[in-house]
Amino acid sequence: MSIKDQVIAIIAGQAMLEPSDIKMDHTLEDVGIDSLGLVESIFAIEETFDITVPFNANDPQAGDFDISSVAAIIKAVEQLKAEQAG
């Protein structure tokens, strides 16, 4: 499975939706993921990709990890994986 599909699967699982219901321009709020769900999603991303996501729940907008949309999250994960490989 590609990074994109895996991230979508994580978000869909958290939102209790089908992966096909998740659109790239959706925000987490759009799919009903609250602050606790966001923290759990970050944890699932870290576990799945064996990466450390720079995320502080005190200030979700800060840091380099862009969570503004599904597409942004996928891009951020791809970048972290690329850095890890490099």
Binding site: M16, L36, G37, V39, E40, I42, F43, E46, E47
Partner: protein, 402 residues
């Protein structure tokens, strides 16, 4: 002072997944203690417990709930659902603001701690699930009950080891009695049957390897159990006005501290709590027909408890019945008083006194009517429930037939 009645009861324990099933098991003198089914049981020298077998959390809760509900919280919510359902109450407006929840537990989310210590120490993981703290905290169960049923008044958790539930129910009783709350959801829960939870108790060398036989000369220690008991304590006038089915009345409560030893029980401390509850209820001691004993099955507790009862009741001690249902459901530690209150309600309401099973041989130091092995039909008007905790903290509650 307001009168206080119980209008709902719920439970899950090794004898049954609800109150009727538990009553039936108690009537039949059935034993819920058996071989433990947990990880690494082969490394334990104590391998029995009153475990809830065949429990499937996914049958009751969704994935997100499970990520937040430790086993002790799950048990609490299942018992609370039954109790509040039976009461017929819904909480909104002023009633919600004047209703709360106070629960007892000793270990709180001990399974969550056990699992995650394994993950970081044994498996060497460096990343843990984000909800461990809200899952393991001792007040998680009380908080989830408050959220689920919109209880917006006084709510907290009591941790006094083996007396936690009785202390919690005593607080709930006094809060309704003094008018601080109209309705209090109360009781307690424990889920300590994990490797670490049993290993710690093993260390004390007070556990039995084969059975819990309270008051029997052949007793050789206590056996742990798990589960929850939850009740709805309600202002009598409020319950009457809405035509609620009243299970019994709560008439007295007392607590005392031994102030002597961290584990060895004290006859004086226990006697002061029992006498205190009788006085608080305005009873003549001869009115007490049944006592649900603390009755752990240890050498020390059982003889001390019998001596305390003999001191408080004098000649009447030989007339009343005192049984320990721990012989059937095990010792639920912080949840035990709540499940044991059910035996008191059954005695008052159904006229059936639960037995002390596993009783083999009389002990001259426990020479009371302990209702050995077989339940008994008897008219009981007033019942007491004893709890004497490690740390010397004692709590006794008094109930009357309604």
């Amino acid at each position: 002072m307001n009168r206080v009645v119980i209008t709902g009861a719920g439970t899950i324990n090794s004898l049954g997944a609800d109150v009727p099933a538990t009553y039936e098991a108690m009537r039949e003198g059935r034993c819920g203690i058996g071989q433990l089914e947990i990880a690494d049981v082969d490394r334990l020298s104590i391998q029995i417990g009153g475990q809830i077998k065949g429990y499937d959390e996914a049958a009751h809760f969704n994935r997100q709930q499970i990520s937040l509900y430790d086993r002790f919280t799950q048990f609490t919510l299942l018992a609370a659902r039954q109790a509040i359902g039976q009461s017929g109450l819904t909480f909104s407006g002023a009633l919600a603001d004047h209703s709360g929840v106070v629960l007892g537990t000793s270990g709180g989310g001990l399974n969550t701690q056990d699992e995650n210590y394994r993950a970081v120490y044994e498996a060497g993981k460096n990343r843990v699930h984000p909800f461990i703290v809200p899952k393991l905290m001792n007040n998680a169960a009380a908080s989830h009950v408050s959220m689920e049923w919109n209880l917006r008044g006084p709510s907290f958790t009591v941790a006094t080891a083996c007396a936690s539930s009785n202390h919690a129910m005593g607080q709930a009783f006094n809060m309704v009695r003094c008018g601080m709350a109209k309705v209090m959801v109360t009781g307690g829960s424990e889920a300590m049957l994990c490797f670490g939870g049993i290993k710690a108790w093993e260390g004390l060398r007070v556990m039995s390897k084969d059975a819990c036989r309270p008051f029997s000369a052949t007793r050789n220690g206590m056996v742990q159990g798990e589960g929850a008991g939850v009740f709805v304590f309600e202002d009598y006038a409020h319950a009457k006005a809405r035509g609620a089915d009243i299970l019994c009345e709560v008439i007295g409560f007392a607590m005392s501290s031994d102030a002597s030893d961290i584990v060895t029980p004290s006859k004086q401390g226990a006697a002061r709590a029992i006498a205190g509850a009788i006085k608080d209820a305005g009873l003549d001691s001869a009115e007490v027909g049944y006592i649900n004993a603390h009755g752990t099955g240890t050498a020390a507790n059982d003889k001390t408890e019998c001596a305390a009862v003999a001191d408080v009741f004098g000649a009447h001690a030989d007339k009343l019945m005192m049984s320990s249902t721990k012989s059937m459901h095990g010792h639920l530690i912080g949840g035990t008083g709540a499940v044991e209150l059910l035996a008191c309600i059954m005695a008052l309401r159904d006229g059936v006194v639960a037995p002390t099973i596993g009783y083999e041989e009389p002990d001259p130091e426990c020479a009371l009517d302990v209702v050995p092995n077989v339940a008994r039909d008897a008219k009981v008007d007033v019942a007491l429930s004893n709890a004497f905790a490690f740390g010397g903290l004692n709590a006794v509650i008094a109930l009357r037939k309604h």
